[in-house]
Amino acid sequence: METFIHQIVAGIATGGVYASLALALVMIYQSTHHINFAQGEIAMFATYMAWTLINAGVSYWLAFVCTILLSFSLGVLIQRIIIRPVENAPVLNIVVVFIGLLVILNSIAGWIFTYTIKAFPSPFPKEPPFGLYFISSHELGSIGVTMVLLLLLYSFFKFTPLGLAMRAAAQNPDSSRLVGIRVGWMLALGWGLAAAIGSVAGMMIAPVVFLEPNMMSGILLYAFAAALVGGIDSPGGAVLGGFIVGILENILGAYVIGTELKLSVALVLIIVVLTIKPAGLFGKVIVSRV
């Protein structure tokens, strides 16, 4: 029973990471109808930036904030410089550019930081919180950070004019221009936010999976599955999907399949969702244009 609760809790903790990444994916999908295949590598690269800062002597939380700001800028730059020229190109071309971005980020990280696995510190104590047996401090802290992040994002989009403008630009770019919104910059902002979210996800998961250039590919797969389960154009769905997938992964891994086929589980989940209910739990039905 103890382990069961721990599996659930651990699932919620990783689920928070998946939820954040899935949210980043949905944000970009909603505004551009592109799937950001490079989302994982951006998060990985951001985590390396944090690692560099921490190794240079910067305190954890200061490095945390700086990394978020740096990632935001990176996201904006990537959208303006690399993505914008192919915004209206055929789907294949766009997918190729995203893969190119994935590959470049992966290789630059490998070049600068080498492929040796590194440890990434957790800001939370090693001892379990309040003497509880089913949750570690890092898991609790990770859940907390994720919750704060999601809450901040929700408030931003719901209550601020800029958040409203971004939602409008994602929904209806033409009408948005007619109220004076600079749609191009809204897209860049969306990318910046997605990159920032990714950096938080990376920094929360790195202490668990260790830092190396290929650390995010499996996690990204789970984030894809989560986004699809929730509905690729539903932010709330993506978040819920993340937690569902996190818990599912841990339960299946502990009791059904073993931990060695986790990626296949994600693959099957993705294919099943796409085949049976492509819109996910909360998304709109995908209508193919005639």
Binding site: H33, H34, I35, F37, I82, P85, V86, A89, V91, L92, N93, V95, V96, V97, I99, G100, L101, L102, V103, I104, L105, N106, S107, I108, G110, W111, Y115, S217, G218, L220, L221, F224, A225, L228, E260, L261, K262, L263, S264, A266, L267, I270, I271, L274, T275, P278, S288, V290
Partner: protein, 329 residues
């Protein structure tokens, strides 16, 4: 001058082909054994890229997971040779058949997905596969993390027209023959009814369906055929390298194939050769700078080509050729 179905002249440049073949046959006797091996790898990659062409160029479907079919072909070959002592040349048709079936079956649900979603599903396939190959309950078959080592086959004759035939040279000719067969098969398929149907489906799916083309069938067929080509390439590469292991078939292999296709050109047979040359030799050159360098180059090339040369080198050459040739009526 191209084999491109889209060009108005479907003339086959016989002279160039014959010259090319003669060169190809003489080549192995003038270069080192390792270079012969590399040339064979280029040919096998070219077959894989023709497979990608059929799927992406003609059928308009995206795959980021064709490395998985190379893996299936390679492992089929390795398992047949290692566990059942089947001769290497017999494993090729078996691998082709198995990959065709798997591809066709994957195509059935996949056909409902468009663009990004298909890319996502095939990406997931590519990412998940190595873990599956390492799975300990399948180790008896796949050799687990260590993979399978194969015996390199001996040439059937000692000499050919007085020239010495060693293993590498013999396998080169074997690969060359298979490459020719696959190219001819690909050429005929794309020139005929299948190719035209695929292009119709790619460009005007609703119209194609209303014209009576069984769209789901053709799309799954395209996936199956393209998987078959890639599987043959995988089987060949297993024999050439004499070794298969899960980490040879990561998502980066699928990305490598994508690079080859983008660089070479998405709807042309010569493009498959250009692309194959690129993906075989760039790592060799760039490796010396850094382990990560080839990938930095791949990534930059992918992006640059999308900006400047979306039809690849073959497409660019074709455009250049049209500019400098006087227009025929």
């Amino acid at each position: 001058m191209s084999f491109n179905l889209l060009s108005s002249e479907n003339s086959i440049p016989w002279i160039r082909i014959v010259l090319g073949l003669i060169l190809a046959c003489i080549l192995p006797f003038f270069i080192s054994n390792y270079s012969v091996f590399q040339a064979s790898m280029v040919l096998s990659y070219a077959i894989a890229l023709v497979g990608m062409n059929i799927l992406i160029g003609y059928s308009g479907q995206i795959s980021l997971g064709h490395g998985a079919f190379m893996a299936i072909g390679a492992y089929t070959s390795a398992i047949l040779m290692d566990k059942m002592n089947i001769p290497y040349w017999m494993t090729i048709p078996v691998a082709a058949f198995i990959c065709f079936v798997v591809g066709f079956l994957f195509g059935l649900p996949a056909l409902r997905l468009e663009g990004h979603y298909l890319a996502l599903a095939t990406f997931a396939l590519a990412v998940a596969l190595p873990q599956l190959l390492k799975f300990k309950h399948l180790e008896f078959l796949t050799g687990g993390v260590q993979g399978i080592v194969i015996m390199k086959p001996d040439p059937p004759w000692e000499t050919l027209f007085g020239l010495r035939l060693n293993s590498d040279r013999w396998l080169y000719f074997f690969t060359l023959a298979i490459t020719l067969v696959m190219f001819i098969v690909g050429w005929n398929l794309m020139r005929g009814r299948v190719g035209r149907a695929l292009i119709a489906i790619r460009d005007q799916p609703i119209a194609a369906a209303s014209m009576g083309i069984n769209t789901p069938m053709y799309k799954s067929l395209a996936f199956g055929v393209s998987a078959m080509f890639t599987g043959v390439a995988g089987a060949l590469s297993a024999i050439l390298v004499a070794f298969v292991a899960p980490d040879s078939f990561t998502v980066f292999l699928s990305i490598t194939l994508l690079v080859g296709m983008v660089i070479g050109g998405v709807t042309s047979l010569p493009g498959a050769l250009y692309g194959a040359l690129f993906i075989q030799f760039i790592p060799n050159i760039a490796d010396q700078i850094s382990k990560a360098a080839p990938w930095a180059i791949y990534g930059s090339m992918l992006i640059l080509f999308m900006y400047t040369m979306p039809t690849g080198i073959a497409g660019a050459l074709r455009l250049l050729g049209e500019k400098f040739r006087p227009t025929r009526s």
